[in-house]
Amino acid sequence: MSEQQYIEFYSECRDMIMSKSTAVMNNERDKAFELFKQYGFPSQKVERYKYTDVDKAFAPNYGILFTPLGIAPSSYIFSLKDAPKDMTAYYNRLADTSDGITLLNTMLAHECLLIYVPKNTKVEKPINVDNWIRGAVPSMMNRRLLVVLESGADATVIVGDHATDQQAFLTTQVVEVFCHDNSRLDLYEIEETTPGMNRFSNVYIHTENDCNVRHSCITLHNGTTRNLCDVSMEGQYTEVTLNGCAIASATQHIDNNTLIRHIAPNCTSNELYKYVVDEQAVGAFAGKILVEKDAQKTSSQETNNNLCASPEARMYSQPMLEIYADDVKCAHGSTVGVMDETALFYMRQRGIPEEQARMLLKNAFMGQVIDQISYEPLRSKLYVKVEKRFLGELEKCKTCNLCK
């Protein structure tokens, strides 16, 4: 239903978008448009979208922003237009061409941020990408990120998602990550936005032999968030870790959907997602581990633990395991719990006010996933941010210049 306005927009503005963009991207646009007209947005009948109403989020009439990328000179970050080498072999090669949101993003994104780490290069400092959306009217932004780690490359990437004004916003994001042999990537996505934000993020990760890849998806403050993360483990002896921290209160909505495909043998995957849903918030986690028939000696552990901190909060948890190989070690589990009343009372008996006792318990619950963050400066920062979040002090982010 709400597809129509995007179809019209593309038909009218195709040339304008192309003029702002580059051949690598423009070559994919019309194909995506044809498929988008065919599939449209996924309805809630589509298995992987059953917890989020896509149509509703895309229905308003947003002004579509074509803000140019602001990139500080760096050896590893580029606009795709200025890529140090031809990226045709990478761009839009992982993205799922049956996903309406990915298709829309491919049609409309005019620029693509490229993180390119050449062979055997270790990037010492983390690469920071900060996304901002601002606007006086309801606005939409379509972001695209391409991460290419050549063999032996090593990098930490921190992507922040921010919004300031109390406005209705919609962002689509497609991230494609290529990890060649023996590379190491630590990728963080941290959302600190506003209640008016609708975030749709699709991340696609491809790993080869002997890689170590960690993806941490952290939602500290948001409106409606839908994060999809698909990992295809195509090489052997690779280890993939997916961590998630989702904190929702008021009427916030957080839906994380992950798929780890073990295609090659001898790989390990670990997944831990934790949610604290409070007040009338809704959380959803659906994670599938798919072990294909050649993926012998796979070891996989998937865990989803959730805390429903109020009687009105809702949590949907759906861990899935699908195994076609016979020599594997896989386990998955999920829990949905409520506040531990005995622990609460114990703290109150010591004089700690009930609200603070609840905060301490929520913080302790989430601490376990923050403990997993391997980049220490970020870990310390997140302990503080998570605590502030539970204290209700994160409604506005005080660290950034724009909010000051």
Partner: protein
């Protein structure tokens, strides 16, 4: 200090306390004994305000305040401390953060500023020594992986940190080895001020050898059925409760035959 009148309390709709009267003046130590399931822990939890217990009748006054109208944290800040019979663990909440929150909550209640970090750390060190608690335990989460005895000692350590004026020790002696019992009891005596009063719940005389009670009560089936001096505890240790129960069993029997 504490005045309980005709207290009736239910848990899950079942009446456990069936009319308890108890008065404890400043500086007094009262021992509370009684058979398993008699209602001793229930009485303690009602005093500290555990929301799973429902008071159906009666009153509790504490230093002139209507205790039953106060939240558990207010009761604690007013000076009431209970050493739990079964202290639970709180994974992920460090002892330091937990105690800092508790100490500063009490200071706030008293109109004082939060304690300086350095003062807090030296206070922890000092009180820890008082109950000979291993520094390793203090660096963990609250009671996480603590042995039964370590948990009991931790309760007394927390009591030392919070300096209450009214303490309930619910079977703090059970689970402690002989040396630990002495250390904990001596720690309690050192912490005690002249006006501190306490209810000591125990099944054994050995704790009362260190902390001499002024009064001993026997609670059976939700009522205090006997009150005496310290010698009552010794009599119970030697003879059990049957001789006390005796009268009421006969009475029931007679009333049935009438």
């Amino acid at each position: 200090m504490l005045e309980i009148k005709n207290l009736h309390a239910n848990v899950n709709g079942k009446e456990i306390l069936k009319g308890v009267d108890l008065t404890i003046r400043d500086g007094e130590i009262h021992a509370l004994m009684g058979t398993n399931g008699a209602g001793k822990s229930t009485l303690s939890k009602v005093i500290v305000g555990d929301p799973s217990y429902e008071v159906t009748e009666g009153s509790i006054m504490f230093d002139g305040h209507d205790l039953l109208a106060m939240k558990p944290e207010e009761r604690a800040n007013a000076g009431i401390f209970m050493s739990f019979q079964q202290p639970i663990e709180i994974p992920g909440v460090s002892m330091a953060n937990f105690l800092k929150a508790a100490v500063n909550a009490k200071r706030k209640y008293q109109g004082l500023d939060p304690m300086k970090a350095s003062d807090f750390l030296s206070m922890m060190r000092e009180k820890r020594k008082l109950v000979s608690m291993d520094s390793k335990l203090v660096n963990r989460s609250v009671n996480e992986g603590f042995s039964g005895g370590e948990r009991k000692r931790n309760e007394i350590f927390q009591m030392a940190m919070l300096e209450p004026t009214f303490c309930i020790l619910d079977e703090t002696d059970s689970g402690l080895d002989v040396d630990a019992l002495r250390i904990v009891a001596e720690g309690f005596n050192k912490l005690r001020k002249p006006e501190t009063s306490a209810i000591i719940i125990t099944h054994y005389q050995r704790l009362l050898d260190y902390i001499t009670p002024d009064t001993v009560h026997v609670l059976l089936d939700g009522r205090i059925v006997k009150t005496g001096g310290p010698e009552l505890a010794k009599q119970i240790e030697d003879n059990g409760f049957d001789w006390i129960k005796g009268g009421s069993i006969n009475y029931d029997f007679e009333s049935v035959t009438c």
